[in-house]
Symmetry: C2
Subunit: 351 residues, 2 copies
């Protein structure tokens, strides 16, 4: 267990911690007294049919989703919907390597899969909140992975699904990128096999990790247009240090690695013996598949190949030069397109 003031109500709150009990994991471990950090907005209506669930992405928490995607007059409108953002396991706010006591914490934290997150979230929304359906599950990147997992695992419950910039089964290319990120961190001698004293000990690894995110997370168009200047940075070096590294350096390396392990192995076809067509064929949700046009590791073509296997679905790419990290919301045009797609999706009648 490691103190880390980044993962706090001050920085990410308000959120509530829900203890969902022991969670037995697909890989054999158990999270004892698993806690999910949940931020909510709006109110559940009497019919209990206006709930929207948003799982979080790699390194992201409820906070950025609130800032980028939610608001009155937006598609995700708290005046109309009961919106739950559930922070993923390992994300730092829910049960994670850094906040789990020895001997089960730090590098001894067990392997967690996307399916574990979704089973945990299902337990939360059905048992704690008594929900029987979700009007929409929407998430970006690893949030898209969880969205797909929800739609395949609980098809009756998910009425609409909007996986943004993510896939149902991780590609081999994407997994290689994940491995690069993992190695950036673990190769730092300061990582000390996961038993460092503070994130600062892993400074070099986190900086390498930040640089890789700069290369793959944005796009060649982003750099061609010097978009980092628009974002307030005078040069690439300034941007790498004061945006990318500033963002990651405060995070817990084991937490990042826990998420990366999950991300690299996201695969809904684990539920159908490896048959992706059958898995995606189970989906009953009206689904909008929403990739980012310039995404370098969840590219539109990979998302499109999956979209073809989803019964009631539409392919809705977002045009942007910000690549995968358009999720950060720095391109207002991309966010407007997402809003438009989500508005249309929420307006569709479902049974």
């Amino acid at each position: 267990m490691l103190e880390n003031s980044y993962y706090s109500q001050d920085v990410h709150g308000p959120f509530e911690l829900h203890d969902i009990g022991n969670l037995e994991l697909e890989e054999g471990g158990t999270l004892r007294g698993c806690k999910l950090a949940v931020a909510t907005q709006g109110r559940l209506n009497a019919a209990k049919d206006n709930a929207i669930l948003i799982p979080t992405w790699y390194s992201g928490t409820n906070k950025i989703i609130e800032q980028v995607l939610i608001g009155p007059g937006r598609a995700l409108d708290p005046d109309k919907y009961f919106i739950l953002i559930v922070n993923q396991i390992g994300g730092g706010l829910s049960t994670s390597p850094h906040n789990t006591p020895a001997p089960g914490g730090m590098a001894h934290f067990p392997r967690v899969r996307i399916g574990d997150d979704v089973r945990a979230q299902h337990r939360l929304v059905t048992q704690t909140l008594g929900l029987e359906s979700l009007a929409l599950v929407v998430g970006g990147s690893m949030g898209a992975q969880q969205t797909y997992e929800w739609a395949v695992r609980y098809p009756e419950m998910v009425k609409r699904a909007a996986p943004i910039a993510g896939t149902a089964r991780n590609t081999e290319h994407d997994a290689l990128f994940g491995e690069m990120l993992v190695e950036a961190i673990t190769s730092d001698p300061g990582f000390a096999k996961g038993f460092y004293r503070s994130s600062d000990d892993v400074r070099e690894g986190l900086l390498r990790h930040a640089r890789m995110w700069a290369v793959m997370g944005w796009s060649t168009e982003f750099f061609q247009a010097k978009r980092y200047r628009t974002l307030g940075f005078s040069s690439v070096d300034d941007f790498i240090l004061n945006f990318m590294f500033a963002y990651f350096r405060v995070m817990d390396p084991n937490d990042l690695l826990c998420m990366a392990w999950k991300w690299m192995r996201g695969d809904v076809s684990r539920m159908t013996g490896g048959d992706l067509r059958t898995a995606l064929g189970r989906i009953k949700a009206k689904t909008f598949v929403i990739p980012m046009s310039s995404d370098m590791f969840f590219p539109p073509a990979d998302c499109q190949a999956e979209w073809r296997l989803i019964p009631d679905s539409e392919f809705r790419p977002v045009e942007t030069n910000d690549g995968h990290l358009a999720l950060f919301g720095a391109d207002p045009g991309a966010i407007a397109q997402i809003d438009r797609h989500l508005n249309e999706l929420l307006a569709t009648e479902v049974s």
Copy 2:
């Protein structure tokens, strides 16, 4: 100085070593008795107007260029042309960190720029070979950088130019990728600040470097299509180990770093005070700009932006799923397209 049997006549020959004398470098160092490793095919005609110069790319030597691009009946036909492939400085066959005696070798090898290579090559072809013009300069990747440097620096001499999968001024995104590669190697404790005993000491770093090349060098389409299977590898892991790592592990880390430093800083506008338009405007060669459609770090859009600034030029993208590493020649369709473009270029009349 380090023995390394990879950089030998057995593996890359036949080639000849030409001593071009002392080369003073742009960054202030001097290569004393600079040697260029040159492979030639065909014969110079009486008019001395059939010479084709091919500079090499990062980690590549004359050998792969011979295998992939040259042959009777091909565009680069030794029955018609006198073809010189000049191995770049730092590439392992020409003067390089690993083959330079102490104290100037290994990590003390001076900084070399693309412009230094091209001045060295110019000295070779004018003074040693007595050439006054080049019918064509063609090269891929760092070979494209040298091609652009030739066309801007010696516009009267270069009649035709074909930069393939490379740019005249390196982009900021591309330089970040280069920095990732550098860090993959230098962060290995076995690198020992560049004074390792053998490439094996830097095994981990070279493996990380190989994986990054797998992620950025091919393309998402390459992995979607499982192209590595067509190439004879059973899985991604098999491919990473027995192709990508097998390729890089025998190379000298300081040699790779010497090339990476050059690559990241390639910029013809250094000759015109940073003005790229003026630099490219100097080009008199009939120029075909030939990017690979799925290239992740020399993407068509970046090449196209430069193409617009070159007076007598055509934009000739190659359709391929092999990304930047289509240069390896594993996609016969891509190679056929390059051949066609080069045939057309060589058929154009020039003054």
